[in-house]
Amino acid sequence: MNNAERSKLKMEDISIEFPGVKALSHVNFELESGKIYGLVGANGAGKSTLMKILGGVYTHYAGKIYLDGKEINIKSPRDAKELGIEVVYQEVDTALVPYLDVAENIMLNTIVNKMDKKQFVGWNVIHEVARKTLQTLGVDINTHTLVEKLSLAQKQLILIARAIVQKTRFLILDEPTAPLSNTEIKELFRIVKDLSTNQNVGVVFISHRLPEVFEICEKITVMRDGKVVAEKDIEKVDMKQLVELMLGRKFSENYPKRKVNIGGKKLEIKNFEDTKSRIKITNLTVHRGEIVGIAGLAGAGKTEFCKSIFGVFPLRSGEIYINGKRIYNTSPSQAVKNGFALIPEERRKEGIWINESVVTNLTATSLSKFARILSIVNVSLERVCARDIIKKLSIKTPDEYQKAAYLSGGNQQKIVIGKWLIPNADIYIFDEPTKGVDIGAKHEIFEIIGQLAEMGKGIIYASCEFPEILGISDRIYVMYNGQIVKELETEKTSEEEILYYATGGK
């Protein structure tokens, strides 16, 4: 392929409506092969919807799409694929078949669409091609592993591998980096750059992490409330302008951390080890009103640790004390009774009922509070509470009875966080709470965590975003390979130091 063969995809005057929501109105968007485009905007701005139209998921839109000047009609995902448009969707779990193995998932399109008259699948070839594709991504996963056994990051990589396994003209990546580690992101960017310069692929990259957008995109489109509000060359815009365009208001990046008086020991964890020995924690304490960061790279064992405290995994040994009293978190429901709350990392899979309303989702953890005589739920009280959370987290939904499935990815994440704000827990464990939420919501979440600390709760904040941990925590435990390798005072440390210990430095 040479550069003369540039093709151009043009979306013109696109509008789309869902019951109660005008998701896009008169949007124009253009992309050319060989270039990388950034698409940014707050949660619910319409980014995924616009891309789903290109991917043939929604067909009831108004407006026109042109490919190289010719009007085209994308009526199904298959049409999109035939035109060379590949979309990696945000909802990772819905796009994968959990009980098939890695190779089958990567080669799904080939197996489904390209078989022609053949009736038998050439498994050797399938595994070979899948393995090669993973290799180019720098990923080391056995192609025979079942997808349900994989971590969220690995699943995301499988989806990317699926998109690049065949020749594409346009590659759309909807928040691909949210679950990935820094090294994985670097690898992904290397490939994306290679695809765009050497294979002439046009790439759309959606992310809430603006530095990433500045790193690889040439052009950037900003969306707000279903409209395109700006289109810029990347050199002509800075981060601050971009955030203001996204949110439609002035915004200061620095958030002052609340000053909270830290009290006595609230939570103490000793000699913690799960039965599979993935984690070994000798000692961890959280004081009243303290925000304790658990810093570690993806795969360091933060999620396993958070879940183990919460009683999800069986333990080989381990003692938990609250206010000096020994308690037993034998199951999550017992943990909740003991005053624990966990905001899990895989929010769509572990935190959402997509077929239930926003209210039902938000009150899932606190239903007993609304239960009256004969356990009958007081729905009006329930609704008031839900509305309050919707407002607090600015969850974008036409009303509180909307099905969770119809909310944008980031707003679904907010629901999972929101449902733990109603019950009165004592210890809050946040596992990567800012992934996938926009910058405005991120600050609201920090604000809420600050309020919880002020109320004297104990907070564990696990994340691989070191700057965030530095911004919000009082004390930091660095985790590496399932163990706490270092304890640091937030005020006296730096990103470099955390990274040093997080990568195994002694």
Partner: protein, 335 residues
């Protein structure tokens, strides 16, 4: 201006067809029931008479009660195949209390249902503790308790005056109060009460909400602190309880224990519960929907009998209408 106008007309015609198809999707099953009633009442002059309506209600009562149980197992994303055997077992137990042991009505019912709950215990153990898929676990208990009922009765049947397998003569009679249960109005009242309680339980109480949440996303339910295993067990206990109640009502209606008497209720109950998914666009198992499903099955059966369709061809029509009702609900042009 012009573009805006044409755009809105496009949207209006679109939404008109969409509204029609949405309506059919939502009310397809109810519509089918309506059309069936209309058709039968036009062709059969006695169809819509008071006594025939009572006959229909009476005939669907047992199916409704058992199907409500299935509905509970479906809410937690499970499936209870053992209900038919449970009904048979409960039938055998309660009749044996009367005929063999000359006991009175209410103790007999309570003892029979309590013993039958062993099936729920076993189902819960196999499914929750042993992690056997619901369908397979209840398939095995289905066979097991079909056998237990047969062994217990010594061949399957007990009736008044019939000597036991070892030749011991029996003197017990089936009490009059017990026989009343299977007659109107009591049988119909019981049915309505069960549907009503199930409806309130599933839709308005915390426990009902939890059942659906366990079924909707078990991982999310667990991590939200819902005692997932308890609620799954609860669903199976309710399922078994209602199947046993169905068996007791059956015993009252036929006044004896028969070989595999409950087995015939398995398929109509499962059908009713699945039809129930779609009624009023619920999209999930629900009590009222299941009731509508039972009515559909009952009306069809009654009408076909009255039209003297031979019993051996009846299932063809039944299956066909069922498929039609479900087609109306599930078939969508796009999306």
């Amino acid at each position: 201006m012009v573009t805006a106008k044409s755009e809105s007309t496009v949207r209006n015609t679109q939404s008109f067809w969409k509204r029609i198809s949405d309506f059919i999707t939502k009310w397809g099953t109810v519509l089918t029931v309506g059309v069936l009633i209309l058709y039968f009442s036009l062709t059969l002059p006695t169809f819509l008479t008071y006594s025939n309506i009572l006959t229909i209600l009476r005939s669907i009562a047992i199916v409704t009660v058992i199907a409500t149980g299935v509905t509970f197992s479906l809410t937690v994303n499970g499936f209870d195949l053992s209900i038919g055997s449970v009904a048979t077992f409960a039938d055998s137990l309660v009749i044996s209390m009367f005929v063999w042991y000359q006991m009175s009505t209410f103790p007999s019912i309570i003892i029979a249902i309590s013993i039958t709950l062993v099936v729920a215990l076993l189902n819960s153990f196999l499914i929750i503790k042993m992690k056997i898929p619901d369908l397979l676990a209840t398939l095995s208990t289905m066979f097991m308790f079909e056998g237990v009922a047969m062994t217990y009765t010594g061949g399957g049947s007990i009736s008044e005056g019939m000597p036991r397998l070892d030749g011991t003569p029996t003197f017990g009679k089936i009490p009059h109060t017990f026989k009343l249960i299977g007659q109107e109005p009591y049988i119909i009242i019981i049915m309505f009460i069960i549907v009503l309680i199930a409806h309130i339980f599933l839709n308005y109480t915390k426990h009902g909400r939890y059942l659906y949440m366990v079924g909707g996303n078990i991982e999310a339910a667990r991590l939200s602190g819902i005692p997932v295993d308890k609620y799954r067990a609860l669903a199976y206990f309710i399922s078994t309880f209602l199947a046993a109640l169905g068996g007791v009502i059956l015993a009252s209606r036929i006044g004896s224990a028969q070989i595999n008497a409950g087995a015939g209720y398995l398929m109509p109950s499962v059908a009713a519960a699945f039809i129930g998914y779609s009624v009023a666009g619920a999209g999930k198992p629900n009590a009222i929907g299941t009731f509508v499903g039972a009515i559909l099955v009952g009306v069809l059966e009654n009408g076909l009998v009255m039209m003297s369709v031979p019993y051996y061809s009846m299932n063809i029509v039944k299956g066909g209408v069922l498929a039609l009702a479900l087609m109306l609900t599930y078939f969508k042009k796009d999306e």
